[in-house]
Symmetry: D3
Subunit: 133 residues, 6 copies
Amino acid sequence: MYAVEVSDHIMIAHSFRGEVFGPAQRLHGATFAVSAAFMADALDRNGIVVDIGRAFDVLRQVLAPLNYRNLDDMPQFKSVNTTTEFLTRHVFDGLAEAVKRGELGREPGEIGAIRVTVAESPSARAWYEAALW
Amino acid sequence: MYAVEVSDHIMIAHSFRGEVFGPAQRLHGATFAVSAAFMADALDRNGIVVDIGRAFDVLRQVLAPLNYRNLDDMPQFKSVNTTTEFLTRHVFDGLAEAVKRGELGREPGEIGAIRVTVAESPSARAWYEAALW
Amino acid sequence: MYAVEVSDHIMIAHSFRGEVFGPAQRLHGATFAVSAAFMADALDRNGIVVDIGRAFDVLRQVLAPLNYRNLDDMPQFKSVNTTTEFLTRHVFDGLAEAVKRGELGREPGEIGAIRVTVAESPSARAWYEAALW
Amino acid sequence: MYAVEVSDHIMIAHSFRGEVFGPAQRLHGATFAVSAAFMADALDRNGIVVDIGRAFDVLRQVLAPLNYRNLDDMPQFKSVNTTTEFLTRHVFDGLAEAVKRGELGREPGEIGAIRVTVAESPSARAWYEAALW
Amino acid sequence: MYAVEVSDHIMIAHSFRGEVFGPAQRLHGATFAVSAAFMADALDRNGIVVDIGRAFDVLRQVLAPLNYRNLDDMPQFKSVNTTTEFLTRHVFDGLAEAVKRGELGREPGEIGAIRVTVAESPSARAWYEAALW
Amino acid sequence: MYAVEVSDHIMIAHSFRGEVFGPAQRLHGATFAVSAAFMADALDRNGIVVDIGRAFDVLRQVLAPLNYRNLDDMPQFKSVNTTTEFLTRHVFDGLAEAVKRGELGREPGEIGAIRVTVAESPSARAWYEAALW
């Protein structure tokens, strides 16, 4: 299995609901370093999984609506905690749609899985990985 | 599959038995940078795999008996080589017990697997990953 | 010249005033990875610049009032932009006071300078360095 | 499952054929940071997956013919694009042969899989992972 | 003294003349991770050394003519070895001109010095630092 | 001012005397990641500060007597604490002698200063920098 992974980052504010979060129930923020890995069983005729330039563009498009935002103010996040784990899945879903629309330059079925890793600090990170089909 | 990973480190002395180890048969030491990843199929109602604060605490508890020690002097390690690989499994076992005692704040069965990564230097590391059930 | 540097991090929300900041005028946030370097011309009789454990404690005390906070809500920051550069100086001032109160375990005059480095993302950081006397 | 991973790097020139590559169709180059992970279900009697020293030597032998080369000039690469993905597989194949010749110091069947990761920049990397048997 | 540092990277091919370079006399290449630090005694009225967005843009403009190029083919480099050290100075000169043209958004004299760091691999890097006035 | 910096690492055991060290008074160990920076006002006719290959060799020679050792057993360290700070100076002294013997391939006086940085963990490091003449 081959994978190509590209990285970018966003800077957001948010707060959490639930006693388990302790001081993180207060409005605070994070720099999230986000990596997106696209996986395929075979390379295409150019010798790539996906074009790295396209992969960067797609990741940036998925992240752009979140960047420099207070996630607490975004209607689609009103009823959830925008935890690092939650965001791995949110980015995964956006990337999966881009793959299915053919934006990565491969036949959609050729990209078998995606893994999204989000680091919130030098000592904590989360990831979500799943097959696309 | 979701994962949350937290990191800490210990500083230990030890020596190895066996010609394969060459100069590492002498008493020497290491800073081991240890990462523990907890994996789950689903997030809990707070939107997390495990609370990162609890994950740090549990990892620190498992590492504490080793920190600032000569592992050669610890009775439980008398008959083994405390290699980087061996320590990945030792930490895994401690974390697995903590999960089974419910110390991570999830129903034990909800955490499906653990991966422990131990870096011994900028250019060498080991990991152990296994399902818990 | 000797230096000892320790690192920690905080997660905050804030916004900036001024057109130069573009989208960062909106409420957003950051994980700030903060390193504090203490500099001395000579080691003490134990062979250290400062005790690393004490250095961690002092850095944590200076950072604690900021962690998991919206800096826009803190009275002392009402009239300033809490930029990365500004925070390097804020942390420097807190550390300098701790040195002058003797909390680092050296005679104050023996620590000649401090440098505080704050990374806001994998690709941008700031630092402030100055002599203490 | 246990893994041991060692890292090295090479500095090469090459160019790509295909419009998808844009400016990378021109002769350019890369520092490739290469990590090789050897995986085994069980440790040997010394408590290791493979000896780290041997793993470094084998990785270096596989990389040596590529280092400080223009890959466009190497006959075996004449008909392919030597992309980061392609190189993960090239290194994998070399390491797999070394395992099968017994050069890692384990019975060949004891090493079940290899993963080769190649970072081309701080923000892009690729990997290839496969079972050996 | 305050500093703000931003990072980018380029991928180039080149070769060196001189026996001291050994195998690096052959055409090879490198990913150069380039950091540019701008230094000032005082922050401006916005609380910054320079706008980070502008700093990224200026660094990218200086690096763009080199990216995805064989430096051996560029007329301005015909008579020199484009070593990592040489490139730190080349980038410094480009940034210094941009400062003097006022492109960083500060009065030129307010930026007192620049340091350019270029990493050629995980274990080797170079830097050039000088005052501007 | 130009600098070239190369990195290597050692794995050692040691203990400290003095209550300030707390649990580090026990025999423990460390992986020390060591970087050596050589500084010069001007490049030589090849366009380098020092040859990176020579710099690696000289650093390795200075570190070799310490690697895989219990520093407590080495006669030259009997009366000192081999702290991270102490080792920055020990390595500096070894490198300075090598420069003065002409082993770096420059006229000794052309290398004006050396900085040695030693990281003991992901969150703590020390350095020593001084002029050579």
